[in-house]
């Protein structure tokens, strides 16, 4: 059976999403995309310069990829909606990753404003992928608001600290009937694999690939890790045992 992730009517066979903001040169992005085999690439609309041939990041993204513009820089739902409209007018398609951040110290998302923006944009037929702090009630509200997926953070953006919010994400995976894409905080391929093993539908990585000494090689490493993690999830790992099996069982007398 083909293992396919469907979002907004698009069928994806690769579950690694790529961020583009931190690369040492735009010119390496095509190779990174190739090696990561990613099918979904996010771009901050604030960075897109349609008037600059060399400077226009969109020229470096494979046309077969799904473009997922993001609303980086939005401080309120209203600003996120305006940026989404700019994205659509710029011909960036109808996917939108909502980022509403009004905290420049930790770059933590404003869940409340994110829900509001999701509701507005879903009604306008955008495929909305909101970036949030993992919270079950928020995720439920996003389902009702018409989100196409939920993107909880594993740790603050750029922190490379891994799945610090693991238990909260696990609850979203169990309870929410939408794709759960772990976004932000994943610093190593092993952490991406960990997210996938636990049942995340996809992961989004930027910093860990872009700031590696060899981003192209690291893109390949993440691709393998995401695939391995997914395969392990599908294979159904054996039950984890916290304690070893005792050689002198306490309930042995019941036999």
């Amino acid at each position: 059976m083909r293992d396919v992730l469907t979002i907004g009517g698009k069928e994806l066979t690769n579950r690694l999403f790529l961020g583009t903001g931190k690369f040492p040169a735009k010119s390496i992005i095509p190779k990174v995309i190739k090696n990561s085999e990613t099918q979904v690439v996010t771009v901050a609309i604030r960075r897109v310069d349609l008037n600059g041939e060399q400077e226009n990041i969109l020229n470096y993204i494979d046309k077969d990829c799904i473009l997922m513009p993001n609303t980086s820089g939005a401080r309120t739902a209203e600003e996120a909606v305006r940026i989404a409209h700019i994205a659509r007018a710029a011909g960036c398609g109808n996917w939108i990753k909502i980022e509403v951040i009004n905290d420049n110290k930790y770059l933590l998302p404003d869940n409340y404003e994110t829900i509001k923006a999701t509701e507005i944009l879903a009604k306008e037929d955008f495929v909305v992928l909101p970036y949030v702090s993992p919270d079950l009630m928020v995720a439920k509200a996003l389902v009702n608001a018409g989100a196409a997926a939920v993107m909880p953070l594993g740790a603050p953006i750029g922190s490379n600290r891994g799945l610090k919010t693991k238990e909260l994400i696990r609850i979203l995976i169990d309870e929410i009937d939408l794709p759960i894409i772990v976004d932000a905080g994943i610093g190593k391929p092993s952490q991406a694999a960990e997210a996938m093993e636990m049942g995340a539908d996809a992961v989004l990585v930027n910093t860990a690939i872009a700031t590696a000494d060899d981003p192209i090689k690291m893109a390949a490493a993440f691709n393998f890790a995401v695939k391995a993690g997914r395969l392990a999830y599908l294979a159904g790992p054996g039950a984890e045992k916290i304690h070893g099996e005792a050689s002198s069982p306490l309930t042995g007398f019941l036999r």
Binding site: G21, K22, F23, P24, A25, K26, I45, R46, R47, V48, D49, G52, Q54, E55, G73, A74, R75, E79, R82, I83, I86, N102, D103, N104, K105, Y106, L107, G158, S159, N160, N206, T207, A210, T211
Partner: protein, 367 residues
């Protein structure tokens, strides 16, 4: 509590004595903390921390990569007017200096914009001296209307204004403000600002707060290193940035590290910060405030700027000229100070790429 009130409190604190009491052990502990407090920051600026500069650099490099990636944002200044009613001992635009003065006409602003936009730059910083008679709010608003056609981010470095004026500028399309306190040392401030409205220390100090209240998206502050004890000003700049970051979390706070440059009037700095001092300041700021932007202008020479790329800088000016109309006309007015890095935008971009970083010419979009 405004930052001014905070300064009045801090003035009771003997910084020199504190710096001399910092030991190696205190510095080492501060360097490796995950979240640094103001005392840790103080330790990193101390003489004892000088020998730990490489260790600090390694961490600063890592933190900058995590928070900003391998990118350097570029912008260029456009001087609109060099008329000024202030007499600042260190500035080429000093009202007492007999220099060629002018204000760009709106047509000239358009010509300058076209020429700058052709370099690919999308972020512009517009500057004036302090003379409302020659460059008032209406003039600035008219300029912004023209600039909007060519640039996606417009910052102002002009005289301090009221909250309402900042609101009008934001509405017109301005998203950033740069305003340097020059020195946080109140008595030194009074000494070097000989005459004019700029003598009002508090009105200038609280300008970033008024901009923050008005909803300005980015706020850039700084001290002119060399005017007073650089350690003192570096420390206060960091505290000021932290204060603004805490109070206006929605704003992107950044710090410039300008050093005094030669200019007409030949003011001698009292305490020139060396290259090493500047680097120590930058590293201490990065460790203390990992998310704050750090700007280095063309006041610094090309080779030094290129070496700073990996140490925590996030933003640089390129293709700069401090003369009014300097991007499109030759020497039609006097410059504010002499620039050291005279490379073109293309050359600066290449140098950044050669260091393994991406020059970013557009990082905001008027919404």
């Amino acid at each position: 509590m405004t930052f001014y009130e905070k300064i009045l409190e801090l003035e009771h604190f003997d910084l020199k004595k504190s710096w001399n009491s910092i030991t190696d052990k205190i510095v080492q502990k501060a360097i490796h903390k995950y979240t640094l407090n103001t005392l840790d920051f103080l330790a990193l600026l101390s003489p004892a921390a000088e020998k730990y500069i490489e260790e600090m650099a390694q961490i600063a490099h890592k933190l900058t990569l995590q928070n900003f990636g391998k990118v350097i944002f570029l912008y260029t200044p456009m001087y609109l007017s060099n008329y000024c009613v202030n007499s600042c001992a260190y500035c080429g635009f000093n009202a007492k200096n007999k220099i060629l003065r002018r204000t760009l006409t709106l047509e000239e602003v358009e010509v300058e914009s076209k020429i700058i936009a052709e370099t690919g730059l999308r972020h512009i910083l517009i500057l004036t001296g302090e003379s409302r008679a020659h460059a008032n709010l209406d003039y600035l608003l008219a300029c912004v209307n023209i600039l909007k056609k060519y640039f996606t981010s417009i910052s102002i470095e002009v005289y301090p204004m009221d909250k309402k004026e900042y609101q009008q500028l934001i509405k017109a399309g301005v998203d950033g403000i740069t305003i340097y306190q020059e020195t946080y040392n109140r008595s030194r401030y009074d000494q070097v600002h000989l005459a004019g409205p700029k003598k009002d220390y508090r009105y200038r100090l609280e300008a970033p707060e008024r901009a923050g209240e008005a909803g300005m998206r980015s706020i850039n502050i700084g001290a002119l290193l060399g005017l007073a004890d650089w350690r003192f000003d570096a420390y206060y700049t960091g505290l000021h940035a932290k204060y603004l970051q805490d109070k206006y979390p929605g704003a992107e706070i950044s710090i410039s590290l300008p050093r005094l440059r030669p200019h007409v009037g030949s003011f001698q700095p009292v305490n020139m910060a060396s290259d090493k001092d500047l680097v120590q300041t930058m590293l201490a700021l990065r460790l203390f405030l990992p998310r704050v932007g750090i700007t280095i202008s063309t006041r610094e020479r090309a080779e030094f700027r290129d070496n700073l790329v990996r140490l925590g800088v996030t933003k640089m000016s390129a293709g700069s000229c401090t003369e009014v109309g300097g991007h499109s006309q030759n020497h039609s007015s006097a410059g504010q100070f002499k620039i050291s890095d005279e490379r073109s935008v293309t050359q600066v971009k290449e140098a950044i790429l050669n260091k393994g970083y991406q020059p970013v010419l557009k990082d905001w979009q008027y919404i």
